[in-house]
Amino acid sequence: MKKRPIGKTILYVILIVYAVITLVPFLWALSSSFKSLGEIVSGSINFIPKNFTIDNYKEIFTREPLFGRWLFNSLFIAVVGTFLNLIFNSMAGYALARLSFPGKKSIFIIILAVLMIPFQVTLIPNFLILKAFGWLNTYQGMIIPGAVNATFIFMMRQFFINFPKEVEEAAAIDGLGKFGTFFRIVLPLAKPALAAQTIFVFMAFWNDFMRPLIILSDESMFTLPLGLNSFKGQFISYWNYIMAASMVFTLPILILYAFFNRYFVKGIKFTGEK
């Protein structure tokens, strides 16, 4: 590796330039959030605020008392939704890989077909079904329809097909039933696949904008993206507030990330260990 200093320099240039490109928008937003409206409007491009102020943060919390609630809603929906996905998708994946039952093949084909259908097709009927259930504007209306995911059922099936059979056989000898084997032995060993799923599913719930836009109507039920958009609607051109609000919404995730950072890269694998 030490042989090519030029190559190394180029690599560093790439890495640093892109790090700057990544960081600038965040820093700019952060700096704007500490500026007064006057400084924002004047259109100067100093990253260090001339008159550093935390008024924006104070203001947004007094003007929008629902901030904490939105954050909670987003976290609740994403955490519960992700948890259900992990269990349900893995169970189905395991059954499709390891158990034999009539209709297995047709079910598998249906799941493969579902994988190809974009959710816009089902958007309107889904809305009507949620309405019939009385689930509009509820947590379950947000969570349950997204509690399984064809892509990850498929992924988990692939994972379990490659999973060593001996482990389960040993568990069976120890007298564990299928459920016991699955939850106590198999699932803990599936961590790498589950980690990948966790990130994907969590981000999908966390970023989801279209479904909450249609399903959630009460402001106190809003998720973060929806709340932020509504906040933007109220304070158009008060970019100091909007940026402060954006920062408030971003920080908790960054803190979470700082704690779980080491799991991220190692965790994301899409095929089973061969």
Partner: protein
């Protein structure tokens, strides 16, 4: 005796199989399969759900309308341009970043943390940050000005509004795929590289002849995910244009159009489902084409 116990065992396993499958079957049945059937039904009707349900059978009318609806054509065009530009660029960028990170440089942990930031941030937040930077007097125009490049009214000018969304999305999505590449890169055995080094291969040669081919299955996955994601572009256009797809329809995407016909204009829900089916078919074709080109079966 033996036979009956084995059929009992079979039956038990079948029961367990259904139990394991039950949550998935119920949820997929109610929230995916039933809606698909319902959507097929709706797509043949004029549907107005305001003030009570009004359904009126219209045969293939809704599908015919797609042929003369200019906005549908514009939305399709915009979406295609978007997909064709964004998918290759974000895939390439993700690959280059991952390979650079994987080269065993000092401080790669730091870079990895930084690069992952956009992925962690909600797209609604990112869209707002970018709208702020794209402002006429905003940061991006100032930087362009400093470099003596032309500045643009990024959000208000129809000729660049979609480009503005593309730049933002490549920036936001590439790091996500980078992480996927990164995991795959760690699986390439070092012995491959060592052998190449003995043959005197340069870094770039190693990249093209070892890294890229080894990453083919993952690339296939990344491209398919990218295709599905880009074809369904909605949030960014919605927030950028305040739901209109403007200026001058320049940020109108197929999904935004579906949304507009379903929930904005009156009496066009049936047409919206017809459009959704069209999109489904397009995505299906795109994925099949991708598969044909890459001839990879390992993931799908």
């Amino acid at each position: 005796m033996v036979k009956s116990s084995s059929s009992k065992k079979l039956r038990r396993e079948a029961g367990q199989g259904y139990l394991f499958m039950a949550p998935v079957l119920i949820i997929l049945g109610i929230f995916v399969i039933a809606p698909i059937l319902c959507a097929i039904y709706l797509s043949f009707h004029k549907v107005e759900l305001l003030g009570g349900t009004h359904l009126e059978f219209r045969g293939l009318d809704n599908f015919m309308k797609i042929t003369f609806d200019d906005r549908a054509h514009i939305a399709l065009k915009n979406t295609f341009i978007y997909v064709v530009i964004v998918v290759p660029l974000q895939t390439l960028l993700a690959l280059v970043l991952a390979a650079s990170l994987n080269a065993g440089m000092k401080g790669q942990k730091f870079f990895r943390i930084v690069y992952f930031l956009p992925t962690l941030t909600s797209s609604a937040v990112l869209t707002l940050i970018f709208m702020w930077m794209y402002n006429q007097n905003g940061l991006i125009n100032h930087i362009l000005d400093m470099l003596h490049l032309p500045t643009y009214n990024w959000i208000g000018d129809p000729s660049v509004a979609l480009l503005a969304i593309m730049i933002m999305n490549i920036w936001a999505t590439a790091p996500f795929f980078m992480v996927i590449y990164l995991a795959a890169l760690q699986d390439i055995p070092d012995s491959h590289y060592e052998a190449a080094e003995l043959d005197g291969a340069t870094g770039l040669q190693k990249f093209w002849h070892i890294t890229v081919p080894n990453l083919r299955p993952v690339t296939s996955f990344v491209v398919i995910m990218g295709l599905i994601g880009t074809f369904q572009l909605f949030d960014q256009s919605y927030i950028f244009s305040g739901g209109s797809g403007g200026p001058n329809n320049s940020t109108l995407t197929v999904v935004l159009l579906i949304y507009q016909y379903a929930f904005k204009s009156l009496g066009t829900m049936g047409y919206a489902t017809a459009l959704a089916f069209m999109l489904a078919i397009i995505i299906l074709i795109a994925t099949l084409l991708q598969r044909k080109f890459s001839k990879e079966e390992s993931l799908y």
